[in-house]
Amino acid sequence: MRLQPVFRNRFLPYLLVLPQLALTGIFFFWPAGVALYQSLLRTDPFGLRSRFVGVANFVRLFSDHYYLHSVKLSFWFSFLVTFLAMGLALLLAVMANKRIRGARIYRTLLVWPYAVAPATAAVLWSFIFQPQIGIIGRALKTVGITWNYYLNAPQALALVILVSVWKQISYNFIFFLAGLQSIPQALIEAAAVDGASSRRIFWRIVFPLLSPTTFFLTIMNLNYAFFETFGVIDALTKGGPGKATETLSYKVYVDGMVNLNIGSSAAQSVVLLVVVILLTAFQFKFVERKVHYA
C-alpha cells in the first residue's frame, strides 16, 4: 500500500532533495563516471596525453602477476578477518548474554573499541609488536622466534589480520548480542527441560535463529576487510614487505595516487566497483527476504 502524500507543493520537494543530490552528483556520480571512462584510456604519467585503448587496461590487469597476487591475497585476508572477527565476537556475545553479574560492565568493556579508528588501532599494536622495543616483539625474540614484521611477509600479514580483527570484534559483538537477546528465552528453556545439552541447544536452536544476523554481518565484515582496513595497512606495513599485504583497495591507492598509473588504477576501481555491487546486491536481497517473511 502506498501512503498518500501529506503536502502539495510543486517546488519545495526539489529544494529539499537538492543538497544531497548535488553532493551525490559532484562527489559520487561524476568521479565514478570518470573512473569508468578512464579505465578505457591510457594516460602518460604526466597526464599530458591519453588515448582510447578499449579494454586493454583490464586485459593487462588480469595478466599482471602482481594484480592476481593481490586478488588472491584480498580474498584470503577478507575471509580470515571475517571468520575470526565473527567467531570471537559470537563467543563473547553468547557469554555476555548469560545471566551473570556485571553483564553491563562487560558489555561496555567490549563495545568501546568501536570508537577506535583502524589506523589508530594499528598504531597501538605497532608499539606492542615493534621488533626491537615492543613488549611482545621483544618477548617473541626471547623465546627464540625471529620476529620482524618489516621483513617477514607472513608475520606482516598476521599482524595486519590481528589488528583488523581486534578492531572489528566490538561491531560484531553489538549485533550478535542484540540477535541473541531477541531469541525468546522460553524456547531455550523448553529445550533445556527436554534434557538437551547447552551445546546442542546452541547449535540446533540458537545458531539457526541467529542466521539473519550472521548473514548480515558476513556481508558487512567482507566490506570492512576489503575497504576499511586501508588505514591498518597504511599505518603498519604500507602494503609491504614486497607486496605481501597489498590488498586490492591498497593497490588502487598506490597505483593511482603514488605511481600515477591512472588507467590501471581506474580499471582496478571498476573491478572493485563490481565487488561492491555484488556485496550490496546480496545485502539488498537479504533485506527484501526479511521484509517478506519476517
Binding site: L3, P5, V6, F7, R8, N9, P13, Y14, L16, V17, P19, Q20, L21, L23, T24, I26, F28, V34, A35, L91, L92, M95, A96, I100, R101, G102, Y106, R107, V111, W112, Y114, A115, V116, A117, P118, A119, T120, L124, F127, I128, Q132, I133, I135, W166, Y171, I174, S198, F216, F227, G231, D234, V252, Y253, M257, A266, S269, L272, L273, T280, V287
Partner: protein, 284 residues
C-alpha cells in the same frame, strides 16, 4: 548437581569475558604506559610494564608542541580541533541532508521522486576506493584541497541516514500532520515542530554513528590534506610514526594515540544505548 552446573557455566562465562575485555584493553594500557616514559628508555627496549613518571608532561608536550627528538609535527591540539570540526560537520551535515531528503520522499509526491531516492541509495555502493583518483581530481579542481569544505562535503552524502529517517518518518501517524495542517501549519513548520522532535532518538543514534564515522576517516583526509595544520589526528599519528623505527619518540606517539581515542571512546561509552539502538535497528 544443577547448582554445580550453573556455577561452572557462569565461571566459564566470566573467564571468557575477562580474557576478552583484557585483550581489548591491553593495547590501551600499554599506550598509557608508553606515554608515561621517555624516548631513551623506550628506544633501548627497557620500558617496564608499569607506568613511569612523565605522563602529564608528555601529554602537555604532545598537545602544545607536538615535536620531539625524531618527530616533527604540529601541536596535537590543532589536529584534535580539525578532527572535531570534521566529525561534527560530517555528522550534522549528513543528518540535515538525510532528513531533508527523507522528508521530501515520505511526505510529498513529485516527478522523478523514486529516481532521486535510488540515486542517493546507490551511493552505498560507491566507497571512495572505487573512484579514488577522479574524486581527488574533482576536489582539487574545485579548490577544496586543504580546506574544511574539502574534508567534509564529500563525506556528507548519507544513504544510510536517508534510509533510517525514511523509516522513522513513515512510522509517524499521518493524522498528526493532517491535524497540524488543518491548524494552518506549513510543511516546514511541521518538519521542525512535529516530525523532528518525534524522531529525536533516531537522530541521537545517527549522530553517534556518524560522529565516529567522521572522526575515524582515513583515506579521504590523507588525500585532501597536505598542509600539516589541516590534518586530522588519525592522519597525524600515522605521519608521526613514520615507519615505526625503534627510535621514534614513542612516548609522544602514544600520548597522541591516547588523545586521539579519548573523545570518540567517551562518546561511545556514554551514548552506548543510542549507538546500539542505532546500529541494530537501522543498519538492517
Amino acid at each position: 548437581m544443577p547448582k554445580l552446573r550453573t556455577f561452572w557455566g557462569s565461571f566459564s562465562a566470566h573467564l571468557v569475558l575477562v580474557v576478552g575485555a583484557a585483550v581489548m584493553l591491553f593495547p590501551v594500557y600499554i599506550a598509557f604506559v608508553g606515554a608515561s616514559w621517555d624516548t631513551i628508555t623506550i628506544g633501548r627496549g627497557l620500558m617496564p610494564l608499569t607506568p613511569g613518571p612523565n605522563l602529564v608532561n608528555n601529554m602537555i608536550r604532545a598537545l602544545f608542541v607536538g615535536s620531539g627528538l625524531r618527530v616533527a609535527s604540529v601541536p596535537v591540539r590543532l589536529m584534535l580541533v580539525n578532527s572535531l570540526i570534521v566529525a561534527l560537520s560530517v555528522a550534522v551535515g549528513k543528518i540535515i541532508a538525510a532528513a531533508l531528503t527523507a522528508y521530501a520522499v515520505v511526505y510529498f509526491r513529485f516527478p522523478l521522486q523514486n529516481f532521486f531516492f535510488w540515486s542517493i541509495l546507490i551511493t552505498l555502493m560507491l566507497p571512495l576506493e572505487v573512484r579514488i583518483f577522479p574524486s581527488y581530481k574533482v576536489a582539487s579542481d574545485l579548490g577544496l584541497l586543504n580546506s574544511y569544505l574539502g574534508l567534509t562535503l564529500p563525506l556528507m552524502v548519507s544513504a544510510t541516514g536517508t534510509l533510517v529517517l525514511r523509516g522513522a518518518f513513515r512510522s509517524i501517524p499521518r493524522e498528526l500532520l493532517d491535524a497540524a495542517q488543518v491548524d494552518g501549519a506549513g510543511p516546514l513548520r511541521c518538519f521542525w515542530q512535529i516530525v523532528l522532535p518525534i524522531v529525536r532518538p533516531n537522530l541521537a543514534a545517527l549522530f553517534v554513528i556518524l560522529f565516529i564515522y567522521g572522526w575515524n576517516q582515513y583515506l579521504w583526509p590523507l588525500l585532501i590534506t597536505t598542509d600539516p595544520r589541516m590534518q586530522t589526528v588519525v592522519i597525524g599519528i600515522v605521519r608521526m610514526l613514520g615507519i615505526a623505527e625503534a627510535l621514534v619518540d614513542w612516548e609522544l606517539v602514544m600520548a597522541t594515540a591516547v588523545l586521539a581515542m579519548t573523545l570518540p571512546v567517551l562518546v561511545v561509552v556514554f551514548m552506548q544505548r543510542w549507538l546500539i539502538m542505532g546500529l541494530t535497528e537501522t543498519e538492517k
